[in-house]
Symmetry: C2
Subunit: 438 residues, 2 copies
């Protein structure tokens, strides 16, 4: 019967225990040999008589010995009088010493040797926080009456714009990798009303930045019967709180990753796009927020509201996809602290938002159009033929509720949690312009 | 404040309630108009004065009226003196009457009109069972110390065999869609020891059958420190039990879908491949089980063991992928009820298995090789250059435990639960040789 490292402190002193894991570190001293064993649960200290050989670091082993109380061991119990049986041949020396407190390697080294270097407890913790976040995301939405969906990643037409799609040879004809589940999650709102999906999305991003990947995990949400995008933001607030709470439960991984957990305010501060430009010191005719504007807004939210999060609503329609609902400010006016004069029903602005987390765009969302006629007009206005979206438009012709949703980038979320300089530091096998392996 | 249909029976009679949803059915009688409203939670009966118009079926509406106890209504409460506000233009007539108890349409009609026809309560239930299964899958594995992972779907080399991969134009060079997360989940065993992934897999299957799709959801599991594939089967048994339990919690959807839930036996019956051939009446030199053999074995398991599940272990090495661990029968002999003479350490057979559910292959799994030298030999023996798997082999050179895992096809699982004739009946947007839309 195997004992996990983190259960060793609960073993009765004097009893025999069997541990299995990797040789995290071996230290052969004159009178004694120490072995630190690593398994999925943590580390354990093992003591062998001097002269007893231990396989090199990273070899997998089975350790049999006596649980012994000692103040020097982590958790107060170590394994003594141990015998060590190797489960494989001797492991090759890793490209960095995994037992050191920090993994001090360059980014290319980390990425090239991901299967080995991600074993470092601090590095592995990044993904443990990602997994905890997924659990918090789903748990929150399950509690709010959402149903998980899975929509096709192979699609016949480019989802939202043709510029950044990957083309696939699909039985001799072209298909595309879905840039987002947007059009499908909307259709499933017609079926299940409240839906979410966790899945890969694909962007043939031709630029090489610290915050873009060609494949990433999108946490998508869509819900029917909303008044406007503020109802969507309210669900987003619950989801973020649930994700932070689930991450906090993995306290060991939080510590190993050096993550600083944010507080999700009861009301996330919201500023209108026009005001955001002013706050960020950007010209008032800018059509979008540049990274430096996002950083300035993040700093403002922290200084003014003590919040790591700030939502910017009302993005210019011209910069949003065809399914975006125009601004219906009137109903919002009372709820908003905006100071600018963007009165209700303005076609320049939209009922959409971005949510910034520590000065970086993390979430895009908003209210969508829900009338078939509005879709046809929106597509025609952009020079697109509604016939290419015939299957999608079916849903609207057959009755759809006012609805909206959002998408969170999982890797960006973890990257901001641990304040990584590059999103690739928290992505085990990133895909970008240059990288398709490991 | 909106009341959901399934909460209506709890409303205080005489109070005003607001419901939102789709017009599921309207019936205009001489003295009264009935409207059945559908939302994500169920149906509610609404009564309007005669002559009051109700939008056509599938239009989304907001209903305001008085909660009124009546024996005739489902749940004992209906909404009377109601006013109905349409939230969109009149909906187009659906291609089938969604209010009828069964959705009697051809498969092509169902698939072409998926965004509308999946709204039928019995049809929608298929996906609700899929979602419940996912919850049961993850919940069981979280409880067993597994960590969810997400591995790349864009890969530089074909995963297991070159014959059925989709090629992608990846920034001007070829990439492939992952046929399975196999090679990556193994690498992540080196990092996290016990991992699972729910994600799309892609198979350029050139044949058109009732049980294959070009894109489907694979529920992948991989764990380290196993003795052999029987340890993997034991985890699979727990996972299946967890999935059935989670499905059973959605009793309403089980009833709507007409699903017959299986009992997962404490010990799933296991037969050796050689014995399986004999039981199925197949020639003893068959290298694989044909669909009719699977059906025969399913019938045998039900008759002999009262089990909807049967595992076949020891598949011929020649038919399994390069990473398959050969048969180590000795340790298994005592645990197995086999009658044939496949003694320990036989290189013809493998430590792999298929699990059949109601006579259909649902799961493939087994123990994998874990020594770097074994991988090199296995690849060379198949005429493959180990260098093409350099990144993958890194994990083994740097120390991996004995490990194994399995993969469940989500759509097949739901298909067998509801005993669908074609896997496409339970897949909202199937992808195959002929179909790339909706």
């Amino acid at each position: 019967m195997r004992t996990l490292c983190h259960d060793l402190p609960a073993a009765t002193p004097g009893t025999e225990v069997v541990l299995e894991g990797w040789v995290h570190r071996r230290r052969e001293l004159a009178r004694v040999t120490f072995l630190v064993l690593r398994d999925r649960s943590g580390l354990a200290q093992v003591v062998l008589p001097a002269g007893r050989s231990v396989p090199p670091e990273e070899t997998t082993v089975r350790v049999t010995g006596t649980a012994t109380a000692t103040a020097q061991a982590p958790g107060g119990v170590e394994v003594t009088a141990a015998t060590v049986e190797a489960l494989t041949d001797d492991a090759l020396t890793p490209p960095a010493e995994l037992w050191r407190p920090t993994l001090d390697v360059s980014l290319p080294t980390l990425l090239d040797h991901a299967p080995v270097l991600w074993r470092h407890p601090a590095q592995r913790a990044h993904w443990e926080l990602a997994a905890a976040s997924l659990r918090g995301f789903r748990g929150t939405l399950d509690g709010l009456g959402f149903t998980e969906i899975a929509t096709p990643k192979l699609v016949g037409t480019a989802t939202e714009s043709g510029s950044t799609v990957f083309e696939v040879d699909y039985f001799g004809r072209p298909a595309y990798l879905a840039q987002s589940p947007q059009l499908y999650k909307q259709q499933m709102v017609g079926v299940l009303e409240r839906v979410y999906e966790v899945g890969p999305v694909f962007r043939a991003e031709p630029h090489d930045t610290v915050r873009h990947l060609a494949e990433y995990r999108s946490l998508d949400v869509e819900l029917g019967f909303v008044r406007d995008h503020r109802d969507v933001l309210a669900v987003l607030r619950e989801v973020l709180a649930g994700m932070v709470a689930a991450v906090a439960e993995r306290e060991d991984a939080v510590v190993r990753a050096g993550a600083r957990l944010p507080v999700v305010p009861d009301e996330v501060p919201v500023v209108h796009f026009a005001d955001a430009l002013a706050l960020a010191g950007a010209p008032d005719d800018e059509p979008d927020l540049a990274p430096e504007h996002e950083r300035a807004l993040g700093a403002w939210a922290l200084a003014e509201h003590g919040s790591d999060f700030v939502a910017v609503e009302g993005y210019p329609m011209a910069k949003r996809p065809f399914y975006t609902h125009p601004w219906t400010g009137a109903g919002l006016e009372a709820r908003s602290a905006r100071t600018s004069t963007t009165e209700g029903g303005d076609e320049r602005w939209s009922n959409s938002f971005d949510l910034l987390f520590r000065g970086l765009e993390l979430v895009t969302g908003g209210q969508r159009l829900h009338r078939a006629a509005d879709y046809e007009a929106a597509l025609l206005a952009r020079g697109e033929d509604p016939a290419t979206h015939a299957a999608y438009l079916q849903a609207f012709r057959h009755g759809m509720p006012p609805h909206g949703g959002f998408a969170i980038g999982l890797e960006r979320w973890v990257g901001r949690l641990v304040e990584a300089a590059n999103i690739r530091e928290v992505t085990p096998f990133p895909r970008d312009l240059h990288r398709l392996a490991p």
